[in-house]
């Protein structure tokens, strides 16, 4: 047996799981294909020569989501690159050749997305895994070639889990919470860095850390640690609760996070008496394009002269 990472110390893990066992075997056998968890919601680990090249999971944003949601690559440019690359082409090479992203930057995004996905999968790792041929299922959009030894990914997932446990309790429990901003975040004089402000805008009591990670195009672990820091500052509450106190019912017109975080986010501050504008501001904060029709109508441009 040979290959990079083949001599890794598998005894370093604090827990023995089915996932660890199956990855260890796949690595030793230099397996090329997919490890799928039939009982779970679409978790697939793609390997080439025993190295992990991609992880498809709904639990963490992939590199494509990170690039798009963060605004690093625009949706129009992405679509063009996908069309150019074709069905079985190299999307990564196309993105780089079109100067949409630097090669090194793309590698950083792919590697960090892989580590984040493994961490997210380990939070609720399925017990049953089956090997599938490489061509089965959805092709991962930006696989990392060569991949990463699974032991390295598991060691890092273990470290992240331990870090979160030491500071904020069970990571699996934290992943299930739906944090919301507190009154302190709205107090005058409260400040937060831009990264935290964006999280505060998303923490509306409806989203889990995973949901926030998808909205912002960030890693789940990064969001969880930031939420922990914000809780320490008393700006979010991340205790598990049955349901948000202000459950929206029919036709909600208020955006909790946007209106509550106005002090922390002065550039998004909007008066309560303009509900449609509140909604559009929140939409912009979530990376969506607000509907332009109402503004045009209000501005008196309709009917067109």
């Amino acid at each position: 047996m040979s290959g990079s990472g083949a001599d890794r110390d598998w005894s370093a893990f604090s827990s023995t799981t089915a996932l660890e066992g199956v990855l260890r075997q796949a690595h030793y056998e230099r397996f090329t294909g997919r490890l799928a968890a039939p009982g779970s919601v679409g978790v697939e680990i793609c390997l080439v020569d025993g190295l992990v090249t991609a992880i498809l999971t709904p639990a963490a944003p992939g590199p494509d989501s990170v690039l798009l949601r963060s605004g690093r690559v625009s949706q129009v440019e992405w679509s063009r690159a996908v069309d150019t690359a074709g069905e079985h082409g190299r999307l990564d090479e196309t993105l780089v050749s079109r100067s949409l992203v630097h090669g090194g930057e793309l590698d950083v995004v792919r590697i960090s997305a892989l580590f984040d996905a493994m961490f997210a999968v380990c939070l609720d790792a399925p017990e049953d895994w089956e090997a599938q041929p490489p061509e089965s299922g959805i092709e991962p959009p930006l696989p990392l070639v060569p991949g990463i030894p699974p032991a390295l990914l598991l060691t890092e997932a273990d470290r992240r889990s331990t870090t979160l446990s030491r500071r904020w309790g069970s990571p699996a429990q934290l992943a299930r919470t739906r944090p919301h901003v507190t009154a302190k975040a709205t107090q005058a004089g409260t400040s937060a860095i831009e990264r935290h402000r964006e999280i505060l805008l998303c923490a509306n009591g409806r989203r889990t850390p995973r949901d926030i990670a998808f909205v912002l195009g960030r890693g789940v672990y990064a969001v969880m640690t930031d939420l922990g820091r914000l809780e320490n500052r008393g700006m979010v509450q991340i205790k598990e609760q049955a349901a948000p106190a202000t459950l929206p019912s029919v036709a909600p017109r208020r955006i909790e996070a946007a209106s509550q975080a106005t002090t922390v986010l002065p550039e998004h501050a909007v008066p309560e008496q303009l509900p449609r504008r509140v909604q559009q501001t929140a939409a912009r904060a979530e990376g969506m394009t607000p509907y332009q029709g109402f503004d045009r109508t209000r501005a008196g441009d309709y009917p067109p002269s």
């Binding site: 639990a59 949706q75 509306n204 998808f214 349901a243 459950l247 929206p248």
Partner: protein, 125 residues
Amino acid sequence: MSRQEDVVDELRLLRERTVGITDCLVSTADGMLVAADSTGIQPESVAALGSVALGLAKRTAAAVGLGSLREVVTRCQSGYVVVYGIGENALLILLGDEGLNTVSLHAQSRQSIEQLAKLLDIRLA
């Protein structure tokens, strides 16, 4: 708890137990909003559009003879819009991010559709 609150509660449960769902709405077949568990969207507009999408898809399914319509899935760059009929008189509209697994979603939604039909006194075929 009123019936409408029960409907909102069922929508919230569906959103919380299904990874990737961000918003849930129930509307009448002609696009009038009944209840929504949503934020950041115009629920009345989405309800009306969902009704049109389902109607068009039903007509299309009938025209091509591929059997009755199961659901309408609109795949966007950063997520999905899925529309299910609740019997003939209402529909369930779900919005999800790109992590939403549309295959497992159908099993989760089926359970909610049955519960919503009970709450709205709709008989499912």
